[in-house]
């Protein structure tokens, strides 16, 4: 379900954090982006275009024998299935706000990432290749939202970006661990089991959060997915 980003609860929380609505609109040095609905629409369309690539890619991967056959990895099947549904909801939410700001829906894939998928397709039929592709797309999505958080002028759009960023980062963390397990030739440890914690090597257990700060260097250009 897509939340209502203008709900009183969200507004109350923002006020409780000590930054009052009275400040909104003040021109200050270093203040957050001024409202520019046309630019915000471009950012939201780009975000939606990335979500569209993620949805179609997960659909393709889930149809492969690797993930649909009797020997499918249960964790990846669950993670990819949940992620596909979440990305569809994200695209809907981005398009909803884009249209409220006077823009058009973006139902097409991001052109840059679509090329990435095309190039990766031959290798994505094995476990490592499928994880690599998903990780590349999820990282691009998470870091695009990271970048957009400071660019969006519309407060509800920024809150949406912050909300989705957490979900994408969940995916990234888990996929980084999955990648490390496959690289170590121990995919059998890719299971949801409370005993997992005691069986992982240090370099695999910590693979999901390699840096103290997300660099944002995999973010897609702001206007790459804008509707032309």
């Amino acid at each position: 379900m897509v939340p209502d980003w203008t709900s009183p609860l969200v507004e109350r929380r923002a006020l409780a954090l000590g930054v009052g609505a009275a400040l909104v609109g003040l021109v200050t040095v270093g203040a957050r982006a001024a409202a520019d609905p046309a630019f915000d629409v471009q950012l939201l369309q780009t975000a939606a275009s990335i979500e569209n690539v993620l949805v179609s890619t997960y659909e393709t991967l889930l149809a492969l024998p690797l993930l649909s056959g009797p020997n499918a990895n249960p964790v990846l099947k669950v993670v990819f299935t949940i992620a596909r549904s979440q990305h569809a909801d994200h695209a809907t939410a981005c398009n909803d706000i884009a249209t409220k700001l006077g823009g058009r829906r973006q139902d097409s894939p991001n052109p840059g990432l679509a090329q990435v998928v095309t190039r990766a397709r031959p290798a994505s039929s094995d476990l490592g290749g499928a994880i690599d592709l998903a990780l590349q797309l999820e990282s691009a999505s998470a870091q695009t939202y990271q970048n957009e958080a400071s660019l969006l002028g519309d407060l509800n759009a920024r809150r949406l970006a912050a909300s989705i960023m957490g979900v994408e980062s969940d995916h990234v963390g888990l996929l980084l661990v999955a990648k490390a397990l496959v690289a170590a030739r121990t995919p059998e440890l890719l299971v949801f089991d409370p005993s997992t914690g005691s069986r992982l090597a240090p370099e695999i257990a910590t693979a999901g959060f390699p840096d103290s700060f997300s660099k944002g260097d995999q973010a897609r250009p702001a206007g790459e997915g804008a509707v032309r």
Binding site: A31, A162, G173
Partner: protein, 214 residues
């Protein structure tokens, strides 16, 4: 130099820029948080910080709380039984990252002429950490507590991104929030839990600048 460091420096540059730190502080300072009901103790932010600086202090206090929580496992390993090498690596790596995050926020505070935050979020510590930490007798229970506090911190970052006014501060928060969430995802995996199915993260439960820090 990391992106976060660049952003922190930009924040500091702006804080000491031609407009002057006082003007920025005035711009950062919003109205005081809504007063709680009369029967609730009033707790003010440290040094009466307001606006973005109060949020920076809040986030530093959450990072310090996590840093101290992980230190408990390092100091009292025996109490939690034998901690496997992979779990200990998670503890030490996560602790190091929280230290870096706290340093980023304290750099912003000290750059604006305010004292850094060395204390922890006492509201969360007394309300959600002390009792479960005392009861934790194995590393699984301990990791579950870390997951809870990590989730609370990530939620607070999410709320902060919707409230911060200063562009550089938003960038710092946006560069840390994904890392907090990645840590939570890994802790979930280590605990054998399925990933959350909700398509959106919500700000319910996010900590506020009325929390007690010390």
């Amino acid at each position: 130099m990391s992106g976060a460091e660049v952003d922190r420096r930009r924040f500091l540059f702006l804080a000491g820029g031609t407009v002057g730190g006082s003007a920025l502080l005035a711009a950062c300072g919003g109205p005081s948080p809504a007063r709680p009901p009369d029967d609730t103790p009033v707790v003010t932010s440290p040094d009466h910080l307001e606006g973005d600086l109060a949020i920076a202090a809040l986030l530093a206090s959450m990072e310090n709380l996590l840093l101290n929580l992980y230190q408990e496992a390092i100091d009292k390993k025996d109490k939690l039984g034998t901690i496997p090498p992979g779990v200990m690596a998670v503890i030490t790596t996560a602790q190091k990252e929280h230290k870096d995050h706290a340093a980023a926020w304290n750099g912003i505070l000290t750059g604006a002429g305010k004292p850094g935050i060395t204390g922890v979020n006492l509201t969360v510590k007394s309300g959600s950490v002390d009792v479960p930490l005392a009861r934790a007798k194995d590393f699984g229970t301990f990791l579950s507590l870390c997951q809870d506090v990590g989730t609370l911190t990530a939620t607070t970052y999410q709320a902060a991104m919707g409230s911060l006014q200063n562009l550089a501060a938003i960038k710092v928060a946006a560069s840390i929030h994904p890392v907090e969430q990645q840590q939570v995802a890994v802790l979930n995996f280590l605990l054998g839990r399925n990933p959350p199915t909700d398509s959106f993260r919500h700000v319910d439960g996010a900590r506020t600048t009325t929390d007690n820090i010390g």
